[in-house]
């Protein structure tokens, strides 16, 4: 392809670490909400690479409906951060055209439910462009999608879309669970030469943490063990990591020791970390918000039994949402998997004969 701007060799996993703009100043770790951490990552990525463009509905002047893109247009100008007309297919479609010309687009889809109109561009083009050009064209596009439920939102604002993307070859899919992870996963997604769907757990936008923008976290494709335990491995991601950690506290009262794995990256999947844990505990529960049938839990349960059948003391169980449309806000607390649903699964796993 015609590369107008020379791009340094980079990729998601074995790439040089994303450059920190703060290398010359003393280390500091400001306390940020997840929304602020994502905003900081966008700022730093745009400062580090002039090919990075941010666009979408209401991202420039308003700074995003969650203020995640606040200040980008002011800092980098309207050529690099701009509002688009309301058309999600077009938002992804123009990102593809820009990537062909050597840019690094970071489009925003305003809410999970609005990814549906962009499905064709993501699945038919974005995911397949490298393959269809026999490796000639990079698609370093990161699609940010505020995702998942639990915030009392109106219809189409609480969807779990990960299974759609995971069933599409060519995409990487990541979900941060903490502000630090949100910062570094996004920095790494933006330097990836493959398209990344970056799902932001809205419910954790306001969670706070000290974010060290000088110390790159784990790369894409690596899971994190958030709590060490010995009885049951809980595999989850996104907003439910915090749910699993609080359930683990309650489980202790019953004498159950939970190990909590935060996948972070659903594709590529760090199955080694899952396997190592399940070999130790002999029990696994997968937890995600989205409907149970063909959710990521189905894949994980299948994979665990395929590879670890003789290490298992109990069936792999799933604590998930139900196979219904996402419910109205007044009912979502009953629908979403919480500590109780997880602990029921834990109990069933522990009480196997």
């Amino acid at each position: 392809m015609t590369q107008i701007i020379e791009r340094p060799a980079m990729n998601g996993d074995d790439a040089p670490e994303p450059q920190s703009p703060l290398l010359t100043v003393p280390r500091m770790a400001p306390t940020l909400t997840m929304a602020q951490a994502i905003n900081r990552a966008l700022h730093d990525a745009m400062a580090a690479d002039e090919r990075v463009l941010v666009f979408g509905e209401d991202v420039a002047k308003l700074g995003g409906v969650f203020r995640v893109t606040e200040g980008l247009a002011e800092t980098f100008g309207e050529q690099r951060c701009f509002d688009t007309p309301l058309a999600e297919s077009a938002i992804v479609g123009i990102a593809i055209g820009m990537a062909i010309r050597g840019f690094v687009p970071v489009p925003e889809i305003q809410f999970d439910g609005f990814a549906a109109p962009a499905f064709d561009q993501i699945v038919s083009h974005l995911a397949k462009y490298r393959m269809r050009t026999r490796g000639d064209v990079d698609m370093p596009v990161t699609i940010r999608i505020p995702s998942f439920g639990g915030i009392g939102a109106v219809e189409h604002h609480s969807e779990s879309t990960e299974s759609y993307w995971l069933h599409t070859a060519g995409l990487k899919v990541v979900v941060p669970s903490t502000p630090s992870d949100a910062y570094w996963l996004l920095r790494r997604a933006i330097v990836s030469r493959d398209p990344v769907v970056y799902l932001e757990p809205k419910r954790r936008y306001w969670a706070r943490e000290a974010v060290d923008t000088n110390a790159p976290g784990l790369p894409i494709g690596r899971a994190a063990v958030r709590r060490i335990g010995t009885d049951v491995t809980v595999v989850t991601y996104g907003s439910l990591v915090a749910t699993a950690l609080s359930a683990a506290e309650l489980a202790e009262q019953h004498g159950w020791s939970l190990e909590v794995i935060d996948l972070r990256s659903l594709n590529p999947l760090d199955f080694d970390t899952v396997a190592e844990s399940v070999r130790k505990t002999g029990r696994a529960v997968v937890m995600h918000e989205g409907p149970r049938t063909l959710g990521f839990g189905a894949e994980l349960a299948a994979r665990i039994q395929e590879e670890l059948f003789y290490d298992l003391e109990a069936p792999v169980l799933r604590a998930t949402g139900f196979d219904t449309p996402y419910p109205p806000a007044r009912l979502e607390k009953l629908w979403l998997p919480g500590p109780d649903r997880l602990l029921d699964c834990v109990q069933r796993a522990m009480e196997q004969p």
Binding site: A90, G97, M98, I100, D120, Q121, H125, R134, N267
Partner: protein
């Protein structure tokens, strides 16, 4: 004078009568807003491209009939539109084709082997197209217009004066993505030319069933961009209106929607049977308006056509047909491992595992 859009300063009217520089009988028309006076070598180059396109197209169909290609979508009858649209552009102006644009591919120097890989079923999209500033073909209808707009917005940001050109069909203009592309291009004043080959049929669906607008070009009014109808079987007219649109785009004037009225003389693809939905009289009507015969007559009238030109063109046709045949017949498939390796820049552990699985399966069979 037509009313002018306050927002974009373009006329809020489209002339129904298509621009035509050479009449179907090969005579120059009275149209004087555009020039026919191109250098003789340009005139004969256009002729060569059209004839070679047709001959190569025929060879593709033959190869499909002989079982060497899985499928083929002929561009027979649309040579003037494709060659004319591409001829005035620079080689650095990106093309975003649908899948039927052999004339444009040839003009860009894409080889028969690179085109043939798709129809042979060797690889998706075409091989090496992007080295010629041409996107891979798009089987998804109308979706690539957005890529053309994005690339044009990229050109704006690179400070280039390049343009992009999207080839759409009449059917594609019904797709939502085509609307979004036209709207975005207009809002962002993207240097983009939408060249619609209205070949009258989207498989079995006629244009009259595709829309109720007066013409495809009329849709431009709603987007605040110029819309222009052109005789798609008149290569000089197609070249002229595209050159005008590209110039306007390069100068920051934004996009243009061109409707080239032409005809798909053959089936939709080699799997189609057009006798089921269109009468022979209609096909005969258009056969009498053949773009190549018309242009040859015109070149004869201006003294550019010679026996020598015809021989030269025939020799080139033969060479490219042979090249296509040799690249296709008995050609090796790609290594099956590539279907895993080309998915990501960094192959995932799961794909490594699955690649090994397949290779082990094949080793067992061997």
């Amino acid at each position: 004078m037509a009313e002018v859009s306050a927002a974009t300063d373009v006329p809020l009217a489209v002339e129904m009568e298509p621009v035509q520089l050479v009449a179907p009988d090969g005579a120059a028309t009275s149209e004087d807003r555009y020039t026919r006076d191109l250098p003789p070598e340009t005139l004969s180059w256009l002729y060569e491209l059209m004839v070679v396109t047709r001959d190569l197209d025929g060879e593709f169909t033959n190869l499909q009939r002989q079982g060497e290609l899985a499928l083929f979508a002929s561009c027979r009858g649309q040579e003037a539109a494709q060659v004319g649209a591409t001829a005035s552009l620079r080689k650095s102006d990106w093309l975003f084709p649908q899948y039927r644009e052999i004339g444009a591919f040839l003009l860009r120097g894409i080889t028969p082997a690179q085109m043939g890989a798709v129809w042979r079923g060797k690889w998706h999209g075409g091989l090496g197209f992007t080295e010629r500033c041409c996107a891979p073909i798009s089987i998804q209808i109308g979706t690539h217009g957005l890529h053309a707009v994005g690339a044009a917005m990229g050109a704006q940001r690179l400070g280039e004066d390049s343009v992009t050109l999207a080839f759409l069909g009449d059917g594609a203009t019904s797709e939502g993505d085509a609307h979004e592309a036209l709207n975005f291009a207009s809002v962002f004043k993207a240097p983009c030319v939408f060249f619609v080959q209205n070949n009258q049929w989207a498989i079995s669906t006629p244009v009259s069933h595709q829309m109720a607008a007066p013409s495809i070009a009329h849709r431009a009014i709603g987007y605040g961009m110029p819309g222009i109808r052109v005789d798609g079987n008149d290569v000089l007219a197609c070249r002229a209106v595209t050159a005008e649109a590209a110039k306007r785009a390069r100068e920051g004037g934004g996009p243009t929607l061109i409707e080239a009225i032409t005809y798909r003389m053959g089936p939709h693809t080699t799997s189609d049977d057009p006798t089921r939905y269109r009468p022979q009289e209609e096909v005969d009507h258009w056969l009498a308006r053949d773009p190549i015969a018309r242009y040859r007559t015109y070149l004869q009238s201006v003294g550019v056509w010679t026996e020598r030109l015809e021989e030269r063109v025939a020799a080139k046709s033969m060479r490219l047909r042979t090249e296509l045949r040799e690249s296709v017949v008995g050609s090796d498939d790609f290594d099956v491992a590539e279907m895993f390796d080309a998915v990501y820049h960094d192959i995932t552990p799961e794909l490594v595992r699955q690649r090994e699985e397949l290779l082990a399966e094949l080793a067992k069979e061997a």
